[in-house]
C-alpha cells in the first residue's frame, strides 16, 4: 500500500516569528491563530494529508490561507516548524542541507507563480537548468531539453530569452523546466494564476493532456476554485492555515464540510465538475426485451410516459420504444418488441460532465440515459434535473416529470382490452 503514496505530510506546522516552538505547543493545545499574538504568525497549522502516486492534488485557499507556505514546506524551501514530510523513504523535515538538495534534484521540481525563469539564459538553457544541476553533460541535457520544449509547444523558441516571450509561453518554459528534471513529484505554486483567463484555460488543458501521458504526482496550489475543480483529482481546502476539507471535487461541491467551504463553492461552475452519475435519477420505467409490446405499453401507461428504455436481462441498454409504435404492435397482435426498438438512445457515460449533457439531452426523446462502462443502464437525467442542478437545488427536480405527450391512458386501456378480447393477451399479463 505504501508505495502508492508519493508524499505524506503528518501534523505539519509552520510558524514565523519568535518562539515558534512554543507557539506550536499552544496551537496543539487548542489555541487559535489569533491568540498567538502579533509577533508570531502561524502560516500552516496541523496539516496532514497523503498524496497518491500519479494524482493531481490541489491545495486551494484564499491569499493568506497558508497554501504557498505549505507547498514550500514540502520541498524544504521553508523548513517546517513541526511535523514530518515523507517522500517515499526520505524524510524532508530534518534532512541535512546536502541531503535536501539531493532530494530536490532527484525527486521533486517546482513551477512558480511568476515563472522564476533565469532572464539571462535562453529558453533552452532554462529548460535544461534542472538537468544541469543534476550534473548531466551539456550535449545530453540540451537534447533532452529540446524534446521537452517541443512537448510544451515551444519548438522553435529555444534560443530566445524569456523576456521575448509572452506570459503563457514563459510559463510553458517554467513547466518544461520542471518536466525536464524528470522528477516524480511536481509542485506547482499558483502556476497559472498570473496568466490571463484564456491562456490559463489553455494551460490547464495542456497540463491535463500532459498528465495523461506522464502520470506525474502533481501538487497544485491555487486560489481559483474553478481551476481546483477542473484539475484536481482531490482537493484540500485551506483556511487560516488549517486544512478544512480534503475530498474529490464532487465531494467538496456536494458535501461541503462547513459553511466556509459551502460559501466558497457557491460560485463554482457546477456543470464542469458534476458528472452525469452525480445527478442521475433511477429510471422510472424500463422494460426487458422479453416483456413484449403489451408489457411496455402498460409500463408507459402506469408512469404516464410516451417512451421507455429497453434493456436485456443483464441491464445492457438496447434502445427505446415509443408508446405509439407499441400501440401499433398491440393492435396488430404482434408480440415481438424487437422490431420497433430504436437504437438511437443517445445515452451518455456516467463520468460525462454536466456541461456536455445539454445537447444530448435536447436531442434525446426520453430522459437522457446514463450507462456505465459495460453499457448497462444505471440511471437517467431528466431535463428538469439538469436545470435544477444549475440552480443549485438538484432535489427540487425529484418530483418533476418531464415528458412528451403520452397517449391518453384510456386509449391504451382500450387497446389492451381489445387485445385481451381477441385472445392475443392474457388478463394477468395486463394487471
Amino acid at each position: 500500500m505504501t508505495d502508492t503514496i508519493a508524499l505524506k505530510a503528518t501534523g505539519l506546522y509552520k510558524v514565523f516569528g519568535k518562539h515558534a516552538d512554543s507557539a506550536v505547543r499552544k496551537l496543539q493545545d487548542g489555541a487559535t491563530r489569533e491568540q498567538l499574538g502579533g509577533a508570531t504568525t502561524a502560516a500552516v497549522i496541523d496539516a496532514s494529508f497523503e498524496v497518491k502516486r500519479g494524482e493531481i492534488f490541489v491545495v486551494m485557499g484564499l491569499s493568506g490561507s497558508g497554501k504557498s507556505t505549505l507547498i514550500r514546506t514540502l520541498n524544504g524551501l521553508q523548513p517546517a516548524t513541526a511535523g514530518t514530510v515523507e517522500i517515499g523513504a526520505d524524510n524532508i523535515t530534518g534532512a541535512a542541507p546536502k541531503r535536501l538538495r539531493d532530494i530536490r534534484r532527484k525527486r521533486m521540481s517546482m513551477v512558480f507563480q511568476h515563472f522564476a525563469l533565469l532572464p539571462h539564459r535562453t529558453v533552452l538553457d532554462n529548460v535544461a537548468y534542472g538537468l544541469e544541476i543534476q550534473g548531466m553533460p551539456r550535449a545530453e541535457r540540451e537534447e533532452k531539453a529540446r524534446k521537452v520544449t517541443e512537448v510544451v509547444g515551444l519548438g522553435g523558441w529555444e534560443d530566445k530569452h524569456p523576456s521575448e516571450l509572452s506570459g503563457g509561453m514563459q510559463q510553458r518554459v517554467g513547466l518544461a523546466r520542471a518536466l525536464a528534471a524528470d522528477t516524480e513529484i511536481l509542485l506547482m505554486d499558483e502556476a497559472f494564476s498570473a496568466l490571463d483567463p484564456l491562456i490559463r484555460r489553455e494551460m490547464q488543458e495542456q497540463l491535463l493532456e500532459l498528465q495523461a501521458t506522464l502520470g506525474k504526482t502533481i501538487i497544485f496550489i491555487t486560489h481559483d476554485l474553478n481551476e481546483a475543480m477542473f484539475l484536481g483529482d482531490r482537493i484540500a481546502v485551506m483556511r487560516d492555515g488549517r486544512i478544512v476539507q480534503i475530498g474529490t471535487p464532487e465531494d467538496i461541491l456536494t458535501n461541503p464540510a462547513n459553511d466556509y467551504v459551502e460559501q466558497f463553492v457557491q460560485d463554482v461552475d457546477r456543470t464542469r465538475v458534476l458528472t452525469a452519475e452525480s445527478v442521475m435519477r433511477k429510471p422510472r420505467a424500463v422494460v426487458h426485451l422479453t416483456a413484449g409490446p403489451h408489457g411496455a405499453l402498460k409500463a408507459m401507461r402506469d408512469e404516464q410516459m410516451s417512451g421507455v428504455y429497453v434493456i436485456k436481462r443483464d441491464r445492457t441498454l438496447i434502445g427505446w420504444v415509443s408508446d405509439r409504435a407499441c400501440l401499433d404492435l398491440v393492435r396488430n397482435g404482434d408480440r415481438n418488441l424487437e422490431s420497433i426498438v430504436q437504437s438511437d438512445h443517445g445515452a451518455v457515460s456516467s463520468d460525462t460532465a454536466l456541461s456536455e449533457l445539454f445537447i444530448p439531452s435536447l436531442e434525446s426523446a426520453l430522459p437522457l440515459g446514463v450507462v456505465d462502462a459495460k453499457n448497462r443502464l444505471i440511471g437517467v437525467v431528466p431535463r428538469v434535473t439538469l436545470l435544477a442542478t444549475l440552480g443549485g437545488e438538484p432535489d427540487a427536480a425529484r418530483e418533476a416529470s418531464p415528458d412528451r405527450d403520452p397517449i391518453p391512458s384510456h386509449v391504451v386501456d382500450k387497446a389492451l382490452e381489445v387485445a385481451i378480447e381477441s385472445g392475443a393477451l392474457k388478463v394477468e399479463e395486463v394487471d
Binding site: 532530494i103 534534484r105 533565469l118 539564459r121 521575448e164 509572452s166
Partner: protein
Amino acid sequence: MEYRIHFGDWITSGLDWISANLNWFFEFLRAVYLGMYDSVNWVFNTPPVLVVVIVAALLALLARGWKFGIGTAVGFLFILGVNQWENAMDSLSLVVVSAFLAVLVSIPIGIWAARNDVVSAIVKPIMDFLQTMPALVYLIPAIALFRIGVAPGIFATVLFAMAPGVRLTELGIRGVDHEVVEAGHAFGAGPARILRQIQLPLAMPSIMAGINQIIMLSLSMVVIAGFVGAGGLGGEVTKALSALDKPLGFEAGMAVVILAIILDRFTGAFGNKRAKALLGGLFNRLPRGGTPPGEPTGGSDNPEAISDLVDENRATRAAP
C-alpha cells in the same frame, strides 16, 4: 572639572599602536600599491601620446559609438594642449589602481552583507562612517602609515570610494527576484551555484552602478590626495592653490573634469551591448525589457499539433 572626551587621543594612540606593531603589514601594502601604480603608469605614460589618444578613442568608439569616440579624442587633445598630459596619466593610473582595489574589497563585502543580516548590520554604519568622514581627514593617518607619496593616496582613496560598491552590491543581490532564487533552491542548486548563476548576473546592473560610483569617487579623491604628494593633477591643483596660480588651477581642473566625464561614460556603458561585445562575454547577457512585436500568443493554436507532440513524447519515453 573640565568636560572633555579625549577621542582624538584615543585614535592617536590606536594609530601609534598600529604603526608600531603592524608596520611590516603597511610596508608590504605600500610595496604592493607602488608596484601596481608603477605598472599601470608605465602602460599610460610609455607609449607615444598619440597612440594612447587613438587607442582610447577607438575603445570609446566601440563602447558607445562615434560621438563618444570623437569626444574622447578631443578631450585628450585638450589635456595635451594645456600641458597636463603626464599629470593626467599619473592621476588616471592612480584612479585605475584605487578603483580596482576598492572593487576587489567592496564586492565580496557586499555579497557577504547580502547573505548575512548580522554582517549587513555591522557593515552599514562602517560604510556610513567611511563615506561621510571629510575626505581630507583620511590623509592624516595615511601619511602616518604609508609616508608621503602615492601609497597614502591610494589607501585613502580606497577607503573613501568603496562604500557605494558595498552598498550597491548588497542592494543588487537583495533585490534579485526572490522567486528566481527559490527556483534555484527548488531544483537543488547549492549556495555557490545560486550566487554565480542567479544572484550575481541578475544583480549586475546594480553592481555596475556601484563600480561606476567607485571610479567617480576615486577621481575626486585622487585630486585631494595631491595634498600628500601623490602628484598628478591633484599635485598641480595643490600647487596652484598655494601660489594662487589661476591659469594652472583651471587647466588642471579642466583636465580632471574631462577625465571624469570620459571615465563615467566608459563605465556607464558597461551594461550596454557594445560594451558587452567589447568585454567579450566576460559577463553573461543581462536581462533587458521589451517584447518584440508580432509574437504568437501561444504554442498551441493548433490542438492537434500538441497532441501529436504528446504522442511523440510518449514514444520517446517508452523507448528505453
